[in-house]
């Protein structure tokens, strides 16, 4: 789950990392009022995506009137795919130096990785590529936390600010990462002010979705995924569903098999209409899953690809067959069923729908693509 800047910064403050004074505004009036309280300010679009500055979503304002004018322009703007509905109005900070710091889950070392560069800002990826030595990469044993002495030794000898102050800020950043089940806690830029303070000007926080149940309060301030109406319905049912542009509906179990079904549809010249997975514990939900696929009017044929390991294909097929008989959709349905419970499942499809499942997935996909094409003509 992504957290916008205004929702992430309180987590830094909670561990003692300073952030600029500021407040949220949803209207130009509010922006003007906040600006009149804090003086010269920065107007920052709150969207869960990068490159806000380059898109014109971050502007300096010397006066409240200027803050208002910026707010009028930025509110309602689209950045990435996100409409700007909130602004963070923050005091301007006298920057002497921009640095970069982040902690993330690193699959290579299978532990937390702390990244730090005394050079930071928008071009950090370029800096990391051109001057790999400028970027410190430090692996952490999550059982022990940040080893400050070892990390101090890994820092460059020349630093723009007091060494102890940097160590302190980074060890606090690690605490914020650890306390909140972060996949990523990133500060870019982490600035040194002209009077020598260290302040986080921005913060990006991504929480591990699997850990949300133990951070229920905090998760309320996260940004929910942008979902279509059908996707939202699916989510409420505990199903993973993504709407796509094609006309071959896909219903499969397990993320890997669902992706593969989509790949195969495209490989044989069709376009998938959706990603819909009913794996894991949700395999008993074939009926609501089918209703979701069919609610999309673009679907011209339905490919059902079940391969049971943990999930039982007879349970899934029972749901689909029953729903199909109730809903009586006017499109062809193509089955390929293998694995746990396949004999019962195949017999059920033959008997109750009069349809012969394909033995090979590739043949089933070819048939589904051809059926959708035939229906479209």
């Amino acid at each position: 789950m992504n957290f916008e800047e205004h929702a992430a910064k309180p987590l830094l403050r909670a561990v003692g990392i300073a952030t600029p004074k500021g407040a949220l505004a949803t209207t130009p009036d509010e922006a003007e009022r906040i600006a009149s309280e804090i003086g010269p300010c920065v107007v920052k679009a709150q969207v869960p995506t990068g490159k806000r500055g380059k898109a014109g979503g971050i502007k300096l304002a010397a006066t409240p009137a200027e803050a208002r004018a910026h707010a009028e322009r930025i509110l309602g703007m689209t950045i990435g795919e996100h409409r700007v509905e909130r602004l963070l109005i923050e005091e301007q900070v006298p920057i002497a130096k921009e640095m970069y710091a982040a902690v993330l889950n690193d699959p290579d070392s299978k532990g937390p990785l702390l990244l730090f560069s005394a050079e930071g800002g928008m071009d950090i990826e370029e800096i990391a590529e051109r001057h790999p030595k400028a970027l410190v990469r430090f692996s952490i044993d999550i059982r022990k936390g940040l080893d400050r002495d070892a990390f101090a030794a890994a820092l460059p000898s020349e630093l723009p600010v007091d060494r102890a102050a940097i160590l302190d800020a980074l060890s606090k950043l690690y605490s914020a990462y650890a306390a909140n089940d972060a996949e990523l806690m990133e500060i870019n830029p982490l600035v040194v002010t002209r009077d020598g303070r260290i302040i986080a000007l921005d913060c990006k926080f991504v929480m591990d979705d699997s850990a949300i149940p133990r951070h229920e309060e905090l998760a309320k301030s996260g940004t929910p995924d942008k979902l279509t109406e059908l996707e939202a319905r699916a989510k409420a049912l505990g199903l993973k569903f993504i709407e796509l542009d094609g006309d071959v509906g896909v219903l499969a179990n397990g993320a890997g098999l669902t992706m593969t079904s989509m790949d195969a549809v495209r490989h044989y010249g069709g376009q998938p209409a959706n990603f819909l997975e009913i794996g894991g514990e949700s395999y008993t939900k074939a009926k609501p899953a089918l209703e979701l696929v069919l609610a999309n009017p673009r679907v011209k044929a339905l490919l059902v690809n079940f391969c049971g390991a943990f999930a039982r294909t007879d349970v899934m097929a029972e749901g689909v067959v029953t729903a199909w008989q109730q809903l009586k959709p006017d499109i062809p349905i193509i089955f390929t069923i293998h694995g746990t419970g396949e004999d019962e499942a195949i017999a059920m499809v033959k008997e109750r729908l009069g349809i012969e499942p394909y033995d090979l997935m590739d043949d089933a996909v070819r048939a589904a693509v051809a059926a959708a094409r035939g229906a479209a003509q």
Partner: protein, 291 residues
């Protein structure tokens, strides 16, 4: 990470619905199930097998070679640490949605104690005709027939499909290694590839990958050194890329992770990359045919 028929297996969470169902399936297949755990039912019998409070208690009384966990996500860390402390060398974690910080914690502990963790979020391990741990349909002879192809898969359902395709094509399976679909897992594609390369019963390897992460690229580095044929299918060519992880994600991942990057890395290492799973058996058959 190949499971052998003589290995003793402890089922953690044996009294639950899934633990019970799969413990019976495993035992029926020939897996040496020696009992299970449930802290509330220690001392009882379940499926006519002893129940201990913990893996440590089990290990005090008997030799435990492998632990398989049917444990809910928020209980996995404690259960895994229990198994590691008990000195169990092979730990199979089936659970999906384990918080990644928990996973990193017990993986660090496992590394220190020399325990091999498979998963989380794996469907398990199968050695055809010998033993299986987890929830793969090992007992289904259309999916698992003895043979000489080793299969590595992140996904259980897709791994099942691939095994089935191999059997349909007249090949058989030596061992299946389900490594798990989570972003951070104990046994990587490369680890599994090295293991099957050393396995005398495996003559060729089918590798099922997915977009995201860098495990296929890392496996490709090892594949360069192999003489056994390897064919791969990478799922996700038609899927939108996953979420971005800030600048940090871009810095750490570099240009790894996409379908194109994985395909290029594997092909450069001599691996045959197939457009659908069904291509894999044909590719391997051609390479396995006597010259």
């Amino acid at each position: 990470m190949i499971v052998r028929g003589n290995e003793s297996v402890l089922v953690m969470g044996i009294t639950g619905k899934q633990g019970t169902f799969w413990a019976e399936k495993m035992r029926g297949y020939g897996t040496r199930i020696i009992g299970g755990t449930n802290p509330k039912r220690a001392g009882e019998k379940h499926l006519d097998l002893p129940v201990w409070a913990s893996a440590r208690d089990a290990a005090k009384e008997t030799q435990v070679d492998c632990a398989v966990m049917f444990i809910p996500p928020f209980g996995v860390k404690a259960a895994a640490l229990d198994a590691i402390e008990a000195g169990i060398r092979k730990i199979v974690c089936l659970t999906e949605h384990v918080p990644v910080h928990d996973t990193m914690y017990f993986l660090a502990a496992a590394r220190e104690r020399g325990a091999q963790v498979i998963g989380p979020n794996t469907a398990g391990l199968v050695t055809t005709g010998e033993s299986f741990v987890g929830f793969m349909p090992a007992f289904n002879e259309r999916v698992f027939k003895p043979g000489e192809v080793g299969v590595i898969s992140r996904s259980g359902s897709l791994g099942t499909l691939l095994c089935l395709n191999l059997v349909q094509a007249g090949l058989g399976i030596s061992s299946f290694v389900g490594i798990g679909g989570d972003p951070i897992i104990g046994t990587t594609t490369r680890d599994a590839l090295e293991c099957l390369d050393r396995d005398p019963h495996t003559k060729a390897i089918a590798l099922v990958g997915e977009i995201g992460g860098a495990m296929e690229e890392q496996a490709a580095e090892y594949a360069r050194t192999m003489s056994k044929p390897v064919a791969a299918f990478i799922a996700g060519a038609a899927s939108p890329p996953g979420k971005k992880m800030g600048h940090a994600g871009a810095i750490v991942m570099g240009n790894r992770g996409s379908y194109a990057a994985k395909k290029a890395a594997l092909e450069a290492a001599g691996v045959i990359v197939c457009a659908t799973p069904n291509g894999v058996p044909e590719a391997l058959k051609a390479r396995l045919a006597p010259a």
